[in-house]
Amino acid sequence: MRQELICITCPMGCRLVAERTGEGELVVSGNRCPRGAAYAREELFAPKRTVTATCRVSRPCAGDRSCAAAETASQALDAPRRVPVRTSAAFPKDRVPELLARLYELEVELPVERGAVVLADALGTGIDVLATRSLK
């Protein structure tokens, strides 16, 4: 078995070749770092993806004009209506749609700090979903 893959671990995009030897061992070439080999193994047997999404928030966000410019009534124009989130680790690819559906139902209480767990042990995978932005 010989399979060509492109590593997506980082922006380098290494072109990998994965071959199974006679002993059943998987040999990966074309990778510029060890993460490439790990990626190839995972991609072939249990593909995973980091999932990013956004969730509803419990109330409108307060704007962030705590700087030199004073607060105004119109500041809400650029106040976000969603909180961005991501999985704490790569998530099983085949269960991504299920995860997204769950995240779109979720409502995150404000305020929220960056890094806060908005969904623990998502779908029983042991992977958490974290807020990636602090909102007041």
Binding site: I6, C7, I8, T9, C10, P11, M12, G13, R15, R49, T50, V51, T52, A53, T54, R56, G63, D64, R65, C67, A68, A69, A70, E71, T72, S74, Q75, L77, D78, A79, P80, R81, R82, P84, V85, R86, K93, V96, L100, R114, T132, R133, S134
Partner: protein, 418 residues
């Protein structure tokens, strides 16, 4: 009308602006950061996908995480951020620059600074810029606008999508639109190769079975009130194959057809622009043609990665601080984009120190050779396993390569790719 005075002012509070300001503040200089949006972070705030910070933090972060890490550093310094504040004009008044700014809270403020760093970023090219014919229905958006609508506002601009251009924002949006329940019918690219990163082709298109049409031109947009479809025509050997044109029904067209540094404000200060990059022409210290005005990040030239943006911006901040302390390069060498090089980010190098350069090639090639000549003598050769226009190349040249220039007046450094 209020007047305020700072040692330095940075226009733009995105990644570049914050990184430059931190360097200025670290050297004890007072610094204003002027940001038109309501928060620092710039366009990173809508880039909720991951892939940022691998070089900077050795971690893979989302855009808001990357931005907030910088924002936290900014908040810990004496930097004065002005958010929701737009600079409308830059004037030169003696040794000072005067920035006319307007905000809801402060009205019109004149900020005076001895050094200014331009960090306003870029804008997306739009339908008009690439002159796609057809009707003008609702449903034609730049990928960045769609990204803002989906990721921050939570609105889905359309259900059946065709993406024109294979730039990274377009690819990222192909995945995002798929993840929010839309059907992405195609990504159409005029060039024979994709403009975005290969990893994005894999994880944003291949994962979702989205076809990528290379060497295809979008020749029409249909629809009276709302988009009804696009016409795609293959290009073969440089010729448009009109008889092979086909139509893809859709209700939304997203455009990811390139970015342009936004320098209309820079021009008000008399900053000279390089027509190849649409960014200012800068010397070895990233200073523009107007003494005391520096430029970095996507307003200087469009970068591939935010990690490169902050690297360049740090240098711009440090150079601005040096300039304020009275330091000037003793001698500079002119940089020339040689064969197959589209541009080099700066027009001069300083032979007495290390110069980090960013450049882009005009060609797609495997096993290419990057060659640097000083006064027609090769001073550096580097093998590149693959080069293409969409991948920025970086290069550091130091006194070892450049010191010969000190003896020769009007030295020229030429960078080429073969």
């Amino acid at each position: 009308m209020k007047e305020m005075r700072f040692d330095s002012a940075v226009i733009g509070g995105g990644a570049a602006g914050m990184a430059a300001a931190l360097e200025l503040a670290a050297r004890g200089l007072s610094c204003a950061v002027i940001e038109r949006e309501g928060h620092l972070g710039g366009i990173l705030m809508q880039c909720v996908h991951n892939g940022f910070g691998l070089i900077e933090f050795n971690e893979e972060l989302s855009g808001p995480e990357f931005a907030e890490r910088f924002e936290e550093k900014v908040r810990k310094t004496a930097i004065t951020p002005f958010v929701g504040t737009t600079v409308i004009e830059i004037e030169n008044e003696g040794a000072e620059k005067v920035l006319s700014c307007v905000s809801a809270g402060l009205g019109v403020v004149r900020i005076r600074a001895k050094a200014v760093v331009l960090a306003m970023g870029c804008r997306e090219r739009n339908r008009g810029n690439i002159r796609i014919p057809g009707s003008r229905p609702a449903g034609v958006y730049t990928a960045g606008l769609a990204q803002r609508l989906v990721n921050i506002e939570g609105y889905v601009p359309g259900k059946d999508v065709v993406i024109i251009g294979s730039g990274d924002i377009g690819l990222i949006m192909a995945r995002r639109m798929s993840w929010v329940g839309c059907k992405v019918h195609a990504v159409v690219e005029i060039l024979p190769y994709p403009s975005g990163l290969t990893r994005n082709i894999v994880q944003c298109l291949n994962d979702f079975g989205i076809p990528l049409y290379l060497s295809h031109l979008t020749t029409n947009i249909y629809g009276k009130d709302r988009v009804e479809g696009v016409e795609i025509t293959p290009i073969e050997n440089g010729a448009l194959m009109t008889e092979k044109a086909f139509k893809i029904p859709c209700d939304t067209v997203l455009l990811s057809v390139g970015l342009v540094p936004e320098n209309e404000l820079s021009k008000t200060a008399g900053v000279e622009i390089n027509p190849m990059t649409n960014g200012p022409i800068v010397d070895s210290s990233l200073m523009t043609s107007v003494p005391g005005i520096f430029a970095c990040g996507n307003v200087l030239h469009v970068h591939d990665l935010v990690d490169f943006v902050v690297e360049e911006a740090r240098r711009a901040g440090a150079f601005a601080a040096e300039w304020l302390s009275g330091k000037r390069p003793a001698k500079e060498v002119r940089v020339k984009a040689g064969p197959n090089v589209r541009y080099v980010n700066q027009s001069r190098v300083d032979p007495s120190r290390d110069n980090k350069l960013y450049l882009r090639t005009l060609i797609v090639k495997n096993d290419a050779l990057l060659e640097v000549k000083l006064n027609n003598k090769v001073v550096r050769q580097a093998k590149k396993s693959h080069v293409q226009p969409s991948e920025m190349i970086s290069l550091t040249l130091g006194p070892a390569e450049l010191e010969a220039a000190l003896q020769v007046p009007d030295s020229v450094l030429e960078i080429s790719i073969q």
